[in-house]
Amino acid sequence: MRILAIIPAYNEEACLENTVEQLTSACPEIDYLIVNDGSRDATERIIAERHFNGVNLPVNTGLTSAFRLGMKYALRNGYDAAVQFDADGQHLPEYIPIMAHTLSEHSANIVIASRYLDGSAKPTGARGVGQRLITLLIKLTTGCSIADPTGGMRMYNKEMIRLFATSFDAAPEPDMVALIARKYGGVLEIPAKMQERQGGSSYFDIINVLKYMARTCLSILMMRVLK
């Protein structure tokens, strides 16, 4: 099974090297692709100097587009599975083989590395409330229970690679996970832990959390009706 780790990177000079080194030492059998999304810092230089496998978008196009680029690369190079992997070191590469195993074992479409599946960690604060709301909405609209729909470490099978690489409107976000759960099924989770981000700054302050949650909830409802 050929697996591609897609690493979208926007201004990630602080932690990109560590992340890639951890990934390649923990999972040497896995290929990776860094998608430099028009960074203005040294990200492009780091990729070139360290001879990392990367592509450079000429302008900043956003996470969805950067991820889609990774999916196109996966499709055109015949990968069997692709995993979203954060450049900031939050995701632990040890879980990739477990996710791959689950993916092929159950012929799933998506496997999510779930922070809240085993109940050892609870979502807290504003994000926690939003998190639960999204889980509830997905349950109501699709009948599927997804403990960690916002978890960013997701593995996709070949069919999903094609779907993401070719559709007009497919974002690696909870609303799309809900849509896939309803239309294609086979969205599974494995229990996982995440690390604190190792550098750079998170996009999520309180206002952005609220915006993100509101937008996601509305989007889930709209997709339920329209798609």
Binding site: V35, G38, V55, N56, L57, P58, V59, T61, G62, S65, R68, L69, K72, Y73, R76, F168
Partner: protein, 115 residues
């Protein structure tokens, strides 16, 4: 009936907007295919200013309290529709730009010397 100075003002305003649209097309600021909407709208404004009786009797026939209410309603609906279709067009443009950026990135990966 409208007072004369107001009618003159309306006609002048409508003619001015028609001229401005034409000017923008001449200066290559807007494609003809996109300007058609605005030319037609400006032309309709001119007609409405020249023959306000048309609008008034139509508004009366449809049961509006006053012709201005009718005109506002129509113009607002028209503009809302225009903004919505613009939104759709921006979406499609975004998708195309992203698509192109992705293809450029992939092409450069295959042939790094072309940079």
């Amino acid at each position: 009936m409208l007072p004369l100075y107001l009618r003159i003002l309306l006609v002048l305003g409508a003619l001015l907007s028609l001229a401005m649209v034409g000017q923008q097309v001449k200066k290559n600021k807007i494609l003809i295919e996109d300007a058609v909407f605005w030319v037609v709208l400006a032309a309709v404004l001119v007609i409405m200013a020249l023959f306000p009786g048309l609008v008034m009797s139509l508004a009366y026939y449809l049961g509006f309290m006053s012709a201005s209410n009718f005109v506002y309603l129509v113009v607002i609906a028209l503009l809302l529709w225009k903004v919505f279709t613009n939104s759709g067009e921006i979406s499609r443009l975004k998708a195309k730009v992203n698509e192109l950026a992705q293809e450029i990135a992939l092409a450069h990966k295959d042939h790094p010397d072309r940079r």
